[in-house]
Symmetry: C2
Subunit: 248 residues, 2 copies
């Protein structure tokens, strides 16, 4: 079974081998092909299967381990992590992916879309001129039919003209940006706060005004390191929990 496997990684694509391998393994974990506790191939097996060196294999596994998707035990092997102790604070995860991992059935409802003129503040974070066109998309996210979060996206319209013509109840925004506009979101910085729910948000989340929410503001950058999206997320405090691991 040699030749076939050697060609699963493309040495001329420009994408580093360790990253190709990382994505390949990641897909098999997230798709549940490999369940929690399942042992991954050993490093030696991965070297042989994909025709790369051990350092390359380890670089791919290191990333997965940092994200909490796998754990390693010397002398035993490498295993798929149990999803209790989670990422979510390391990688950009889609709402759909996030909810599936938490065992909920996700759904999306688009509340509002429109083109607006950038305010001074918005212009600053998106690094555009005040008054420039910004596409605004407001979505309600549901888990098992119950409101979980509201996401308000502000997109630099010059980078993705006509972005509002697509149906974001069905199609992920990030997929559209990549396929239609060649924009890949590669990095983001975010601030996490606790706020009391304003009346309008509370209503749409079906909680009482003043109830505590997790409020996240995120700036997402494209592969060219240019701001593409400013995102505000309001998570219901009674339903949404962020998990992570710390080192001493």
């Amino acid at each position: 079974m040699p030749a076939d496997h050697l060609h699963l990684l493309d040495r001329h694509s420009g994408v580093p081998l360790y990253q190709q391998l990382y994505e390949l393994l990641r897909r098999r974990i997230l798709s549940r092909e490999w369940r929690a506790g399942h042992m991954l191939p050993t490093e030696a097996q991965l070297m042989e299967q994909y025709g790369v060196s051990r350092a390359t294999v380890r670089q791919a596994l290191d990333t997965l381990a940092t994200e909490g998707l796998i754990y390693r035990q010397r002398g035993r092997g490498t295993f798929v992590a149990h999803p209790t102790v989670q990422q979510g604070l390391v990688r950009i995860v889609s709402f759909t992916e996030d909810m599936r991992q938490r065992g909920f059935e996700p759904k999306t409802r688009v509340l509002n879309t429109g083109i607006i003129a950038a305010s001074a503040d918005l212009a600053k974070v998106l690094d555009i001129e005040p008054g420039a066109e910004v596409a605004r998309i407001e979505r309600l996210r549901l888990a098992d039919g119950e409101p979980m979060s509201i996401e308000v996206s502000f997109l630099v319209h010059a980078l993705c003209p006509g972005v509002l013509q697509y149906d974001y109840a069905r199609r992920p925004l990030r997929q559209t940006l990549e396929q239609e506009y060649g924009l890949r979101i590669t990095r983001a910085t975010q601030a996490i706060r606790a706020i009391n729910a304003p009346d309008d948000i509370a209503k749409r989340l079906t909680v009482a005004p003043g109830d505590a929410l997790i409020f996240i503001e995120r700036i997402s950058l494209s592969q060219y390191n240019i701001p593409v999206e400013f995102l505000r997320i309001y998570h219901r405090g009674d339903r949404y929990v962020l998990y992570n691991e710390l080192r001493g």
Copy 2:
């Protein structure tokens, strides 16, 4: 100037070389010996100065980069990161360290201490018998004289008998655990939520009851992978913000 530098790392200590180098560099950054924007020695220089291979140097730098303490630019060099977009969600950071980095002057007031019997829930997370002795320490954390957070620690008393005799307004808890009991906190898992301030907490934080708080529950493990502390942190929502970076 060769020989001296070659001995800054101890090849017989059992501590991996990359980790020794990582800690050494980390200290120089956190102590502000190297300020934000300062260029670190190049990888080649570090190899020579410490007598290690490039892979070892890079392993140390990778960790610092993951934590957000440094950033690298191909063709230019490696630099100390600006503390705006920070960790706090990767490494266990003391309140004092955390506040200093945010430009506040930290202070601590001990509100309450005592020995209690472990409830069923507490026993479960600390992996001890229900009813076993637990040391409880409640501290108010101030930044520039204003209340910022309340921290309630629950310590497995059997692991650190007499731990309450020390003054935790002056002496960090983690330092005491290490110096007096040989316990190093090496790992922790935490859950982050938004809650409405209960009356008693609100009063001590000088906010209104119901105001939104960031509520963190953390289980800290020793170097032996045994639970040592269960910690509840209540951060004022109007003053405390968590920052982090995501990858796409």
